[in-house]
C-alpha cells in the first residue's frame, strides 16, 4: 500500500493534521498551567459583572454600572460608527481623487497627487497626532470661539451648534417616517412596473412625495409643542447644550478618511486605466459627454478591478480604527483593554478583541465579495 501515491499523500496529510492538533493541545495546556502558576484566573464570568469605568463619548446609552459585556458592545459601536463613516467618506473622496489624478488640468492632478503621496507615505499615527495638535495650534480657545452662525461656534472644544429636541415619545415620528418610506418604496416600484408594461412612467412617485410632505406638515403642526430649539450657551469655560461634535471624533474621522482616501484614489486610478481605450472611443462616438462617459461606461467597467483591492482597504479601515485612542476617542480595543486592566482577564480579553475583529472583517469581506460577484462579467 505504501507504493500507492494517493494513500501516501493522505497519510502525510493526516500526520500533519495530527501534528498541528497535538501542538495546539500542548500549547493550550502549557498556557493554562502557566497561568495557574502565576495566579492569573481564566474564565468569562467577568463579562456579567459591572464595568465600573466610564466611556467619555458613546453612540449607545452607557453608564459605569452596566456590565462589562455591554461596555464592550458600546465600544464596538463606537468603532463601527467611525469605520462606517470613514468607509463612506473615503470611498466618495477616493473616487474623485482617482479621477482627478487622471485629469488633464495640472492643478487638479497635482493636488490629487500631493494628497495621495502625503497619505501613502505618512505613518497613520503621526498623521492623527498631527491633526489633533492642529486643533489647539489653529483653532481658538473656547473664550474666543469663531462664530459661524447664530448659536454655532467652533473652538478648541469642538463644534457646537443648535439642536432640535423632541420631548414627546420617539414612537410617533418613527412610525411616521417608516410609513412615508414604505409609501415611497411601493410607489417607485409600482411606477417602474408600469413603465416596463406601458413604456410611460406614471407620476406615482411625485404623488407619494406630495403625500409625504403633506403628512409631514400635519405631523409637525400636531406636535409643534414637542419640538424646540436647543441653543448652546457659553457657561464659565465651555458651551453647553445643543449638539456638539468633539475634536476627538472629528480628528479620527478626518485623519482616517484622509489616509484611506489616498489609497482608494490609487485603486480607482488603476481601475480606470484598466478600462480599454476602445470603450472610451465608443463612448465618444456615441456622443456622450465626459461626465456621462465616466458615469455610464468607465466607472461600471472599472468597478470590476476596483472592488477586490477595495475590500482589503475597507478591512484596513476597521483595523486602523483601533488607533482612535491616540486622539482620545475610545474605541472597542481601548474599552476591552481597560476591562483587562480592571479584571486581569488578559487572555480572554485579547481573545474577545481578536474574535470580534475577525468576525467584523469576515462579514465585511463576505458583503463585498457578494457585491463583487454581482458586478463581475456574467459568462453564459
Amino acid at each position: 500500500m505504501l507504493q500507492d501515491a494517493r494513500f501516501r499523500a493522505i497519510m502525510a496529510q493526516a500526520a500533519l493534521l495530527a501534528g498541528v492538533a497535538a501542538l495546539g493541545f500542548v500549547l493550550l495546556t502549557a498556557t493554562a498551567r502557566n497561568l495557574e502558576l502565576r495566579g492569573i484566573p481564566l474564565g468569562f464570568g467577568f463579562l456579567w459583572r459591572p464595568a465600573n469605568f466610564q466611556i467619555a463619548e458613546t453612540i449607545l446609552p452607557y453608564s459605569s454600572s452596566d456590565p462589562n459585556w455591554w461596555a464592550a458592545v458600546v465600544g464596538l459601536s463606537n468603532s463601527l460608527f467611525i469605520s462606517v463613516l470613514v468607509i463612506l467618506l473615503a470611498s466618495v473622496i477616493g473616487l474623485f481623487i482617482g479621477i482627478g489624478r487622471l485629469s488633464s488640468n495640472p492643478l487638479v492632478s497635482g493636488l490629487c497627487r500631493v494628497w495621495v503621496e502625503v497619505a501613502r507615505n505618512t505613518p497613520l499615527v503621526v498623521l492623527l497626532i498631527f491633526n489633533y495638535a492642529l486643533w489647539w495650534e489653529v483653532v481658538p480657545l473656547a473664550t474666543q470661539a469663531w462664530k459661524l452662525a447664530p448659536g454655532t461656534h467652533i473652538s478648541v472644544r469642538g463644534l457646537s451648534m443648535p439642536a432640535l429636541t423632541w420631548s414627546a415619545s420617539v414612537l410617533a415620528p418613527a412610525a411616521f417616517l417608516a410609513t412615508s418610506a414604505a409609501i415611497l418604496v411601493v410607489a417607485s416600484y409600482a411606477a417602474r412596473q408600469r413603465q416596463v408594461e406601458t413604456g410611460r412612467r406614471p407620476a406615482y412617485v411625485s404623488a407619494a412625495w406630495l403625500f409625504t410632505a403633506l403628512g409631514a406638515s400635519i405631523f409637525l403642526l400636531a406636535y409643534r409643542d414637542a419640538v424646540s430649539l436647543d441653543i448652546p450657551e457659553f457657561r464659565r469655560a465651555n458651551f453647553s447644550g445643543g449638539w456638539s461634535l468633539t475634536p476627538e471624533l472629528t480628528t479620527i474621522l478626518i485623519g482616517l478618511t484622509f489616509y484611506t482616501a489616498g489609497f482608494i484614489g490609487e485603486i480607482v486610478r488603476g481601475g480606470i486605466l484598466a478600462v480599454r481605450k476602445g470603450q472610451w472611443e465608443a463612448a465618444t462616438a456615441l456622443g456622450l459627454s465626459r461626465g456621462q462617459t465616466y458615469r455610464l461606461v468607465v466607472v461600471p467597467l472599472a468597478l470590476r478591478s476596483i472592488v477586490p483591492p477595495l475590500n482589503s482597504q475597507y478591512i484596513n479601515v476597521v483595523k486602523n480604527s483601533t488607533l482612535a485612542i491616540v486622539v482620545g476617542y475610545q474605541d472597542f480595543m481601548t474599552v476591552v483593554s481597560t476591562m483587562i486592566n480592571k479584571t486581569s482577564h488578559a487572555i480572554e480579553g485579547v481573545a474577545i478583541i481578536l474574535g470580534v475583529f475577525l468576525a467584523v472583517n469576515l462579514a465585511l469581506s463576505a458583503l463585498l465579495n457578494a457585491y463583487n460577484r454581482r458586478i463581475a462579467i456574467m459568462e453564459r
Binding site: L23, W135, W136, A237, T338
Partner: protein, 340 residues
C-alpha cells in the same frame, strides 16, 4: 520528506520551550540577564522620566535602582520599560518586567494578580486647573472638562468619587497616555488635567510654560498607597526588593546618607550598623548577596530622605512636601524594618 523533518524539529523546539516557561526563578533570570528590568511611566517628571541625555531619573526610578544596587552592586544595572496604565499589570504578570516602580496603587484585585512588596510613596489624586477658573471646592468643578489617562487607572475612580460625593457632573476626555492628556490640557482642550498629586506637581513644575497660571486642586477623595510590585512565585526576589527599599528607609532612620556612609561604616560601634554596612560579615548570606549590599544601596542611591529631596522635594523643581512619606518620628508612616 525534508520539509517534514524540519517541521518536526520546529515542533519539538516549541514543545521544549513551552514546557520550560516557568522553570526559571526571577532571581536566576535577572542574574543571567545582567540587569534589572524596571517598569516605568511614559514620562512623569520627578517620578520616572528620561532626562535630556536619555538617562532615566526620578523617585520611582531610584526605587528600582536601589534593587539593582543591592543585587548587582551597581545601581546602573537597571533598564527601564515605559508602560501605560493598561500595560503595567500584564507586564508584571508575564514577567516582562522584574520590578514595577510606576506610581501603582496597591489594591486587593491587583495584589492577587501580582505581588506588591512595599509602599514607596503615599499620594492622592489632584487636578491641575487654570487659576482663572477659581476652583476652590469640588462643587466648582461642575460642567468643566477634565483630560486624564483612561485604561482603568485609579484616578478615573477618584473622579467618579468626587462626582458622587459632591453631586457635580464633569465631562471627561480619556487618553491612553498621561502625556497626551497633559498636552491636550495645556493646549486648551480641557479645563483640568487629573493625575496623582506628585505627578501633577511635576508636570506643572517641569512642563507648563508658565507654572503660575495653573492651580492644583486636591479633593482628598482618595489616599493612594503607591507600591513596588513584582511577579508572583519567587520569595527570594520578594525579599531582595523589599529589603533594598527598606535599606533606604533604615538609612534615613539611622542618619546615614550617601555622603557620610563611609565615615559611619568606619566609626560605627553598634552591632546592627556594623553588620548591615558589611563591616562585619553575614548580612548578605541569607539572600545570597554580597555583604556590602546595603552599603551599596546607600552609597549609590542614597537614603529615602535624600532620594525624595532630589526628585520631589526641596532640591527639585516640584518642591513637594513629604507629608505622610516620612518616618514616624516626623509624623509619617515609613517604618524602617530593623536589620537584625
Amino acid at each position: 520528506m525534508k520539509r517534514v523533518t524540519q517541521f518536526a524539529a520546529a515542533a519539538a523546539m516549541v514543545l521544549i520551550g513551552a514546557g520550560s516557561v516557568n522553570a526559571q526563578s526571577i532571581t536566576d533570570k535577572v542574574r543571567q540577564r545582567g540587569y534589572v528590568s524596571c517598569g516605568a511611566s511614559q514620562g512623569v517628571p520627578g517620578l520616572s522620566r528620561p532626562d535630556d541625555k536619555g538617562v532615566w531619573t526620578g523617585f520611582d526610578v531610584d526605587s528600582c535602582r536601589a534593587v539593582a544596587a543591592a543585587f548587582f552592586g551597581d545601581s546602573q544595572k537597571a533598564q527601564f520599560v515605559p508602560l501605560n496604565a493598561a500595560q503595567r499589570i500584564p507586564a508584571v504578570q508575564t514577567g516582562e518586567v522584574d520590578v514595577l516602580a510606576r506610581t501603582t496603587t496597591w489594591t486587593y484585585t491587583r495584589d492577587v494578580a501580582v505581588r506588591f512588596v512595599a509602599i514607596n510613596l503615599v499620594d492622592g489624586d489632584a487636578i491641575m486647573l487654570r487659576k482663572s477658573l477659581n476652583v476652590g471646592a469640588a462643587a466648582d468643578l461642575e460642567g468643566l472638562t477634565i483630560c486624564l489617562q483612561g485604561g482603568g487607572s485609579l484616578v478615573e475612580n477618584a473622579l467618579d468619587l468626587i462626582e458622587q460625593q459632591n453631586q457635580v457632573k464633569v465631562e471627561r476626555v480619556y487618553f491612553d497616555s498621561t502625556i497626551l492628556a497633559r498636552d491636550a490640557y495645556f493646549g486648551g482642550r480641557c479645563d483640568g488635567y487629573m493625575s496623582d498629586g506628585f505627578a501633577i506637581a511635576g508636570q506643572r513644575a517641569a512642563v507648563a510654560s508658565n507654572p503660575d497660571e495653573h492651580a492644583i486642586f486636591q479633593s482628598g477623595a482618595t489616599t493612594e498607597p503607591l507600591a513596588l510590585a513584582i511577579p508572583r512565585g519567587d520569595d527570594r526576589w520578594f525579599d531582595i526588593v523589599r529589603y533594598a527599599f527598606n535599606a533606604m528607609v533604615w538609612a534615613e532612620d539611622r542618619g546615614i546618607t550617601s555622603k557620610n556612609v563611609d565615615e559611619i561604616a568606619a566609626s560605627a560601634t553598634d552591632g546592627e550598623t556594623r553588620k548591615a554596612l558589611g563591616v562585619e560579615p553575614g548580612i548578605g548570606e541569607p539572600l545570597k548577596l554580597d555583604d556590602k549590599w546595603i552599603y551599596n544601596v546607600i552609597k549609590q542611591v542614597g537614603n529615602y530622605g535624600e532620594v525624595f529631596a532630589r526628585n520631589l522635594g526641596e532640591e527639585s523643581p516640584l518642591k513637594a512636601e513629604r507629608r505622610l512619606n516620612a518616618l514616624p518620628r516626623d509624623g509619617g508612616i515609613l517604618f524602617p524594618i530593623p536589620f537584625k
